[in-house]
């Protein structure tokens, strides 16, 4: 094989055990019929796994200000939600797509399936999109979502949360997660949050209140940094 036929595949580190929740987590009842029973098959990362979709500004259809989606102000506590998207080595992940979605201040989603008896807000849809900047930064303006009941177990309530979807440079770095709020009394009882075995990994999903991004007379500031998989140091060669 000629040397020029080889090119390096820059692979990604594997997550430490306990960070990502298991597929089967009986406390989260709907995992029981949907989680695979067979072990996942480990495969080496090839070009297919170290590449992934990129998005351009013109593809975005939704803004980063979730308080400006109706004719008036949505109900609730305005918040400024910002942070950085980094890899495990601390390198900013630039120009990557961040999608968020959330319930309104009363804990109701703008979705046909959500029949929770709490008011919809005509001025709130609850979705946002943006691309991170050159330092991996993002900033959304939104309202603090409410907690809401669900039917996982008797008197079950989800802690207030905002769903985050991130891509990073490859399908290996794809991450969908949820951001929680500090001091939420529902967190210790939530099987989705507690499906994460690693205590530090759970704590990382809790945003921090931040004076620096709190806008006087306007909005409370919360910061939430998100770390995606970083690269292994030694590239592996693939053949062209």
């Amino acid at each position: 094989m000629n040397q020029r036929d080889l090119f390096p595949i820059r692979r990604y580190r594997s997550p430490a055990p306990g960070i990502h929740p298991p597929h089967l987590y009986p406390g989260y009842v709907s995992s029981v019929k949907r989680a695979p029973s067979q072990a996942l098959v480990s495969i080496p990362q090839t070009l297919s796994e170290v590449t992934g979709p990129g998005f351009q500004r013109h593809q975005l259809k939704v803004g980063a200000d979730l308080t400006a989606q109706g004719h008036g102000e949505p109900s609730g506590q305005r918040i400024s939600l910002s942070g950085r998207v980094l890899d495990e080595d601390g390198k900013p992940i630039r120009n990557t797509l961040v999608e968020i979605w959330q319930a309104n201040a009363a804990g109701r989603y703008n979705h046909a399936v959500d029949q929770h008896d709490a008011p919809l807000d005509p001025n709130f849809i609850g979705n946002g999109q943006l691309l991170t900047d050159e330092e991996g930064r993002y900033q959304f303006k939104t309202i603090r979502p409410g907690a809401y009941p669900w039917r996982n177990h008797p008197n079950a309530w989800r802690p207030a949360h905002i769903h985050f979807s991130l891509f990073g440079p490859a399908i290996s770095t794809r991450l969908v997660t949820q951001m929680y709020f500090p001091g939420d009394p529902l967190l210790p009882f939530d099987p989705i949050f507690n499906g994460i075995r690693d205590e530090a990994a759970r704590q990382r999903l809790i945003a921090r209140f931040d004076w620096n991004t709190t806008v006087p007379e306007q909005a409370l500031g919360f910061t939430f940094d998100i770390v995606l998989r970083g690269r292994l140091e030694t590239p592996m060669e693939n053949r062209l």
Binding site: F7, S14, R34, Q38, S48, Q102, T177, L205
Partner: protein, 197 residues
Amino acid sequence: MTTSPKPDSLLGLGAYQTVGPFFQIGFEALYQNDLAVPGLKGRLVSIRGQVFDSDRLPVPDAVLEIWQANSFGKYAHPEDQQDKPLDLDFTGFGRCPTDAEGRFGFRTVKPGPVPSSTETPQAPHISVSIFMRGLLDRLVTRIYFIDEDSNRTDEILNLIDPARRPTLFARPIPGESDAYLWNIVLQGHDETVFLDF
């Protein structure tokens, strides 16, 4: 799986959480199940199927994302250094939710072979991520085409128990040209092979 000692200096990784039942609110803006942009080179195919749970009931609230190379086997990505043509406006990315019967479908180009770590290229395949309420972490798998001879030498397929390999094969739909059926069984008999990388 690739393992390496974790230096203490590494930042803590973000943990997966379920997309829940209301992902449509956040994902709908980028729903795209027709990847066949004008002028796209290669053979257009449609791939359709259903997602089933352990009771063999359809899953009406899943969402699939696909990622693939173009017909030349080239990814629209800066780390694909192969000297092969790109197709203008072909991103290789699709996203499709399941309907009330658990059905999904994509129209796309059949991908070409892409490099492997051996001397034989990988057989044409499409990478798939599956998200839904009930899955705290995504599931990842691949679609292969059953009528491809190169499946026999595919580096990844050969890592999989031969008895389970057929779960990754899309099969031609009789009486319909260029249409393939590929179902996902989350658990139980004929459970789809899910991957980890």
